[in-house]
Symmetry: C2
Subunit: 129 residues, 2 copies
DNA sequence: TCATCTATTGACAAAATGCACATAGAGAAG
DNA sequence: CTTCTCTATGTGCATTTTGTCAATAGATGA
């Protein structure tokens, strides 16, 4: 009950696991670069996450073939930007993720409705000794 | 595209994050022990996960006050078992988790319907260079 | 020249995860 | 009584993932 007071934010969909399909979906609208993508991630409830995490995810996605990147030196309002584009492979990987996430949604639904059912049935009590 | 061929199972809800509320919900039905809980986890789509992970999760949940445990030496078909019971605190923590997971569900819905909308609008193309 | 905004990256500690292995009681077969 | 299998819990450790902080750097304007 006391202990080292771990915070345990418990932010289920904030991991890289969800970051990848989220970035892929945004890139599906068209090529873009990390800084802008980061702002758009807020749409998906992924606001104020660590910048490094996003750039890292993009680089790993490139290693894995989801995206390709090129330096864009024109039209910047600052230093050169790395512009990412979704590949055909990435397009397919996004589809796979979407299907996985649909299953996750069903799992989640089952869990939540199971909880509700359990509560309505009146067994809503804890079982301390 | 090649690389060290990382498997990347991408199992969104298999982490300890989801293990905790799942175990708590099972314990809400009544006290139980790790080995049995492990089998019941399959209900929530958490089949064949690492045994160590489950025992670890239970011990950490005890540290955090979700559950308490006691050795049960009677009625075993083998070595003594550690029987876990949900505490009142754990009951409340489960409710908090359920509320978090409802928000996750909404986030997921938004992501998935956004994907579907995007596809239906006919922009379903990747943007390779 | 100094501050500020845009933009990307590196380095490293801390936490989470996966996997193999250790321990051990009960019961049945031989 | 030895061995095997099933039940049951746990340890140890390497690897992976995550979070945080700082470094770099061009453009713009005061």
């Amino acid at each position: 009950m006391n202990g080292p007071r771990r915070k345990r934010e418990r932010c289920y969909l904030r991991s890289a696991r969800f970051l990848e399909p989220a970035l892929a979906q945004l890139l599906h609208y068209g090529p873009s670069h990390g800084y802008t993508l980061m702002e758009q991630l807020a749409e998906f409830g992924l606001g104020d996450l660590d910048r490094a995490a996003v750039y890292r995810a993009l680089r790993e996605m490139e290693e894995d073939g989801w995206v390709i990147s090129a330096w864009e030196t024109q039209e910047t309002q600052g230093p050169p930007r790395r512009v990412y584009s979704l590949t055909e492979v990435g397009d397919q990987m996004l589809l796979d993720c979407v299907q996985d996430l649909q299953r996750v949604r069903e799992q989640l639904d089952f869990f939540l409705s199971s909880y509700r059912r359990h509560m309505i049935e009146g067994e809503g009590e804890y079982h301390d000794a």
